[in-house]
């Protein structure tokens, strides 16, 4: 059985896998990091998005054996050790950008990568286009778009703290 050594949320793991084992299966079943979800079988929904070497990837499209030496970040590793949320997590809560929560981890991981790749800011249309690979069935995206715009302001250093949602 092949073996893969990778770093997940800063911690090194060596894991026995099958050749067909997907990264998302490694995370969920071997490491019990169940925050990364599986919502489809065609790489469409984005519930499984994690960061690999800092870039967002769909963990259902990556074989575990491709991850030798890789740095993986998942939703579980996002908040600070003292529990302080990442600005994107905080924005999702403030703007009610989640309902059932199932697409949320992938949505948050995609959104962080989207903001990082647009350091000068994002228009509403750019956010909507950037979410092409993430499906949410609950929210209608309205509040997700707002949350990402608000988090981007903080992540890009335009604001020191998150703008409150209108009451």
């Amino acid at each position: 059985m092949p073996q893969v050594t990778l770093t997940v949320n800063g911690k090194s793991h060596t894991v026995d896998v099958e050749g067909r084992t997907l990264l998302v299966e490694l995370l969920r079943e071997k490491l019990r990091l169940t925050g990364t979800h599986v919502g489809c079988d065609t790489s469409q929904c984005g519930a499984c998005v994690v960061h690999m070497g800092g870039d967002s990837v769909k963990a259902c499209t990556i074989l575990a054996v491709q991850c030798e030496g890789a740095e993986i970040a998942t939703i579980e590793g996002l908040a600070a050790a003292d529990g302080t949320l990442h600005p994107m997590q905080e924005a999702f809560r403030e703007y009610h950008a989640l309902q059932c929560g199932f697409c949320t981890p992938g949505m948050v991981m995609s959104a962080i990568d989207l903001v990082k790749k647009h350091p000068s800011g994002l228009s509403e249309q750019e956010i909507r286009d950037g979410l092409e690979g993430n499906i949410c069935r609950c929210t209608g995206y309205h509040n997700i778009v707002k949350a990402i715009a608000a988090a981007a302001e903080v992540m890009n250093g335009k604001r020191s703290e998150l703008a409150r949602a209108a009451e």
């Binding site: 469409q44 009610h96 929560g101 609950c138």
Partner: protein
Amino acid sequence: MNVTIPFEGIGASVRRKEDLRFLTGRGQYTDDLNRPGQLHAWVLRSPHAHARIERIDTAAAAAMPGVQAIYTGQDLAAAGLGGVPCGWQVTGKGGKVMAEPAHPVLALGKVRHVGDPVALVVAETRSQARDAAEAILVDYAPLAAATTIEAAIAPGAAALHDEAPGNICFDWEIGDAAATDAAFARAHKVVRFDTTNNRLVPNAMEPRAALGEYDPNSGEHTLWTTSQNPHVIRLLMGAFVLKVPEHKLRVVAPDVGGGFGSKIYHYAEEALVTWSAAQLKRPVKWTAERTESFISDAHGRDHVTHAELALDEEGRFLGLRVSTLANMGAYLSTFAPAVPTYLSATLLAGVYTTPAIHGQVKAVFTSTVPVDAYRGAGRPETTYLLERLVDVAAREMGMDRTEIRRKNFIRPDQFPYQTPVALQYDSGDYEATLRVALEAADFAGFEARRTEARARGKLRGIGISTYLEACGIAPSKLVGQLGARAGLYEVANIRVHPTGSVSVFTGTHSHGQGHETTFAQLVTEKLGVPFDQVEIVHGDTGKIPFGMGTYGSRSLAVGGTAMVKAMDKIIAKGKKIAAHLMEAAVEDIEFSDGQFRVAGTDRSKAFAEISMAAYVPHDYPIEELEPGLEETAFYDPKNFTFPGGCHICEVEIDPDTGEVAVVNFTACDDVGRVINPMIVEGQIQGGLAQGIGQALIEHTVYDGDGQLLSASFNDYAMPRAKDLPSFQVSTSTTLCTHNPLGVKGCGEVGAIGSPPAVINAVVDALRDHGVTHVEMPATPAKIWSIIHQGRGGADLPAAAE
């Protein structure tokens, strides 16, 4: 010192309690749970839409690595398991009870749709179970499939079930046919309209999953499942399928990733893992893949309808005749017979004073996945029909679209309003929601925007929908008369702990609705207990006395009212304790803001002092009152609730591509009292997205052999962020008159009111192309063909989609 305590009661947009675990990856969805010694199950499903099972050979599969057991329908029959039950019985014309064929957990003798479960493989790993399932040899003798209603009722069509000749499940009617005929006889004009309400796949983002466990010591079965109503699953599965009594069966619905109706029903896989775990004395888990969800989760809609509206010279509605063919799929799912009848045809009056209505529904079995309630459940179908019909009528009468609606609205002073189709509406103000929406949408300024768009080469249109719906399911006696096999009460148990914190055990279930927050706000408002001292517990039959779950926008109107009743009992008992402690008469004790006060004095006791005294008293009226502070209340609603409102959609069509862009969407909804505006707006926005998805892109396509062509997210168009606009959502309130909170329900209004607004806008945009109707979904291919081939209103073959 001034400390500002944020207001967290009724009306505050309190941020959600549940978010923290979901945002940090600590949610506990069914597939996230693992039990010691757990095995994995894979369901072998039929590749045929209709076939006789000649032989199943499991020998090779059983010998494969890791395989612990393989079960077929014969094994379950031999073990005495029952079939999957249906919760409603419709009695049709002439007192004829619906055909109710058996729905075996695993197919017996025949398969009746692609995806019908044929065998269960249980192995050490999921991959092993799947590999083994592929090694099972099934000899099928294919039979003719009937995947559309038309094919199923055609003369000579093969019958799916011996019990349902001609594939007819029931033929039912409502309203007064003679009065309606008379209304048509004196009509100035009769407007006719035919439409198909497109079949949808609910597609909650979390695929269904089930995990069964058995404790041989206690004999207790536990099922963790992706359910909207664990108590109902316990009742249906325990009593009808497994024949296990409730005290030996615990059903837990932990975090559930969306439902939209599809997780109401009792599904075969729940019984399979629960039963096989007991056989094997090891936990068994099953999780659907997405394509498996497409071919095994109940679908929604799929009604084919002909309607006729009779009008007088002034445009007043005199009579309405509606005849619907409703697709039930291959078997009757839990709510299926109720959807086109009691949840749909009873809404045919809509927001209008149409005095005579006659509706007929013929339900048809087809060799497709069972069809059942999906967000709105029958009300979107009727709303779409009425609001398109009214627009068609306005056009044929040469009337303004708002004028014809206003002329026929039920006025605020007409409530309570008895419709000719069984329902009595308690409250509403359709003029108010129309007025607010027209203003917010700048309806008056639309023609300028149309002109501006034309200059850019775009076709711009605007559409209105004024609607109501019936929810808050359900007044038990009424629905019992209508064929429900169970009452639809709700229950709340409220446990005040000694130090004054509160646990609420509710029989409703939250799978995105935010009950942990909204319900806590109710407790904060009513008992004065701080928001962070309130815990909402749901989804576990081991903890909660009973409940009917969450669907039909019932949680707050029915479950919330049960909570209010239980809190009233808490306050009443607290007053007695307070009276004893303060040596006052019970009648003199007042309760507000978390304080029990002796009226007209400065003497008071805080809520937490009373709760402490209730549990560990030195001084207690023990002769008259039992210690403790915990109360349970059941609530049976007196009537349905009737939310409604106005949705206005503005679209732009690119004639070069046929693409329809929703450029503005405005909704003003009356959902009764709003507890948490943030959550309510989120519910409406989500519903709108599903309604726009139905109108423009979502479509379930079977080929003639019964293969589901749209069985993945590659093939079935789910609305994505770029397909939707930012929404303008607002509420305008009339209170529900028959529940103490005045709430009506907000979970489904978005999906109910919006599809006709979208199509009315599309038709308006295409008005210069001679178009009078476009069937849903208005895909780019369809619109392009209309524009470029002049095919006004004609539906294109599926192949052109």
